[in-house]
């Protein structure tokens, strides 16, 4: 057999049928669903008289519209309540395990899959949510799908897919202190652009990627979709196996060893061919801040807001001009001179325990700037929340003037009442700075958790490397 990439290996292992000129039928190991994109799929299934083929491989959670305040109060938003009730009813009728909003394991779908050990190396994983790519950090093929595809997977446990092209993103060297996984992925997107990954599956390689924890790898893979790729992956290694051992759905004892031996084979063979390769020097990546209305509009913390005239392409010039107008920013403004009104630490990109620990180091013993109207810390799951509280992180956040909330998607998408008001500017650890993403008219700057924390204290963006705080 010719040398294969990690992507090829997972793909080949899951082909159910392959006919020339047709998309493959690909088997799906794990199907995660949430309240936002599943009701129409269940309705379609029901109206066609079809059943859920593998409820045991399907896991549901409430995350997008859940309140991050008090869940014992009634849900006042009738539409959100309707979706919660529909999900609960659909799961009850079909035998799908639901982590409802009161479950101890509730959290953002892309956080709890890995946390429970449902996500494993070599798996195919899908969810009606584009940030399913997060799960690729384990060396799985994980990607977002539309609602029609959700219905297709419910009915058949398969998807019809054409093979994507593997693309390698090699980040060499060692990250500087204060430069996080978030800065790495933003720097990658800044370099290759938001459409470079279309039709491709990204594999992140190199010493700077190997040096990341599982939390960091999840942050990187999470934003593969922001580079246009449906999936991103990192080959599993000792870091992966150590993270997995002992989690509720991971095999134990001898079975674990058997699994690890299989997982060790999930690496790209020497000499395997990628459709594209990109290299970045990890030593040179600085903390990143977005200034525009897509994640590719990003620069170093030491940089300035660019002028539309500095872009050669007419389409880019036009979209930069429109982005600066929306963001109310003038070309030439130093990033560190941009004030912030809101700070949001959360989302499937950056709400894991490591993110909260790092942010807490920046704010410990300090106070949120008086000009900052709201600083939110939203753990990605209730397990993360409980762990953070056991370490006293909630106290550090509260004492600094942050609100410490319950788990959910929250202000990344603003489907509950955590909404960024129009005209206000937010330092956000989420993944999308699209117009209106966090709230109509809201202005989003994507940053790492420590850069967000530092902005909360200073009231504007600052270079965390110059704070004199011991950083990893």
């Amino acid at each position: 057999m010719p040398p294969r990439t990690l992507y090829d290996k997972i793909w080949d292992h899951h082909v159910v049928t392959e006919e020339p000129g047709k998309p493959c039928l690909l088997y799906i190991d794990r199907h995660y669903i949430h309240e936002g994109t599943s009701p129409q799929a269940f309705a379609g299934l029901k109206s066609a008289g079809r059943r859920v083929r593998r409820p045991d491989l399907t896991f549901a959670v409430m995350d997008h519209s859940v309140s991050t305040r008090n869940r014992d109060l009634p849900v006042l938003d009738a539409d959100a309540r309707g979706q919660f009730e529909a999900l609960a009813r659909n799961c009850r009728e079909t035998g799908v395990h639901l982590f409802d909003m009161h479950s101890r394991n509730q959290g953002i779908v892309h956080i709890i899959g890995p946390e429970l050990g449902l996500t494993q190396p070599g798996f195919t994983i899908v969810c009606g949510d584009s940030h399913t790519s997060t799960n690729g950090a384990f060396g799985s093929l994980a990607f977002g799908i539309g609602t029609s595809a959700v219905e297709h997977v419910l009915a058949t446990q398969c998807l019809r897919e054409y093979r994507s092209k593997p693309m390698r993103i090699e980040v060499s060297g060692k990250r500087q202190r204060g430069v996080t996984a978030k800065d790495v992925i933003l720097a990658i997107i800044g370099k290759i652009g938001i459409a470079a990954g279309v039709g491709h599956v990204l594999e992140y390689t190199g010493a700077a990627i190997r040096g990341l924890s599982m939390e960091g790898r999840m942050t990187v893979c999470n934003m593969s979709i922001e580079a246009g790729a449906r999936a991103g992956m990192v080959a599993p290694d000792g870091t992966t196996f150590a993270y997995m051992e002992g989690r509720p759905f991971v095999p134990r004892g001898k079975d674990f060893q058997v699994a690890v031996d299989f997982w060790k084979g999930l690496a790209t063979d020497p000499g395997a061919i990628y459709a594209k390769s990109v290299e970045l020097d990890g030593d040179k990546i600085a903390p990143q801040v977005t200034w525009g209305t897509n994640p590719g509009m990003v620069t170093d913390i030491t940089g300035r807001v660019p002028s539309p005239d500095s872009f050669a392409d007419p389409g880019a010039r036009q979209s930069v001009a429109s982005a600066l107008e929306y963001m109310d920013l003038k070309p030439g403004t130093a990033i560190t001179d941009i004030p912030v009104d809101y700070v949001f630490i959360g989302s499937c990109t950056n709400s894991r325990i490591e993110d909260l620990r790092a942010a807490s180091k920046i704010i410990a013993g300090k106070r949120v700037a008086p000009t900052v109207k709201l600083a939110l810390a939203v753990p990605g799951s209730r397990v993360v929340k409980a762990l953070a509280e056991s370490e006293g992180l909630d106290k550090i956040f509260r004492e600094a003037g942050f609100e410490w909330r319950d788990a959910g998607c929250s202000m990344c998408i603003g489907m509950n009442d955590d909404v960024l008001p129009s005209g206000l500017r937010c330092a956000s650890t989420s993944n999308r700075n699209f117009e209106g993403r966090q709230g109509k008219g809201g202005r989003t700057h994507l940053v790492s958790p420590i850069t967000a924390a530092a902005a909360a204290i200073a009231g504007h963006f600052v270079d965390v490397r110059q704070l004199g705080v011991e950083l990893e």
Binding site: V16, Q40, R160, A195
Partner: protein
Amino acid sequence: MQPFTRHSGLVLPFDRVDVDTDQMVPKQFLKSQTKEGYGRILFYDWRYLPGEKPNPDFILNEPRYQGASILLTRRNFGCGSSREHAAWAVADYGFRAVIGPSFADIFFKNCAMNGILAITLPEEQVDELFRRAQSTPGYQVHVDLPNQTIRDDKDLELKFEIDDFRKQALLKGLDEIGLTLEHDSDISAYERAHHPEPTQQSPVDFSYPVAS
């Protein structure tokens, strides 16, 4: 699914790169449980002023583009969120075909699942279509899926590529799930060989070993 064979219609040139699905259907409209009625929502925040008054500066509200059924786009159209609501909105508004130099992968697939023909053409050909649509009031094109051509009433004739599976599915309005269910025995064979079922080792929902 509504089949697509041939369609002639007014072209709406949407002259903006990297249009994301958050703009097509903003999040406040993602809490519905139906696939219907999203046409009114399409590009909501750009299209309406407060009180849902049409924004006269937005292209969908321009009188010359009323009744448009072919959406001409720039590169990377439909990027971002996987929300199929974006495709439902495009279809419900009345667009039958979307033509552009490139589309985001998930949006492209969502179009196919909803009877919308998404056509990828080289950038120069898209530029030419933009020039014609912007300079000719009432500019129409004729999209012919069986022959894979786009023509206008002057001299333009373009060929486009489409994979045969998607073409047949669109032409016949096929139910993809029904097709896959014909492979039930293949799927069962895969399951017997690979045992994908999860093994739960410790309880969830009410207790969890807190790792450090």
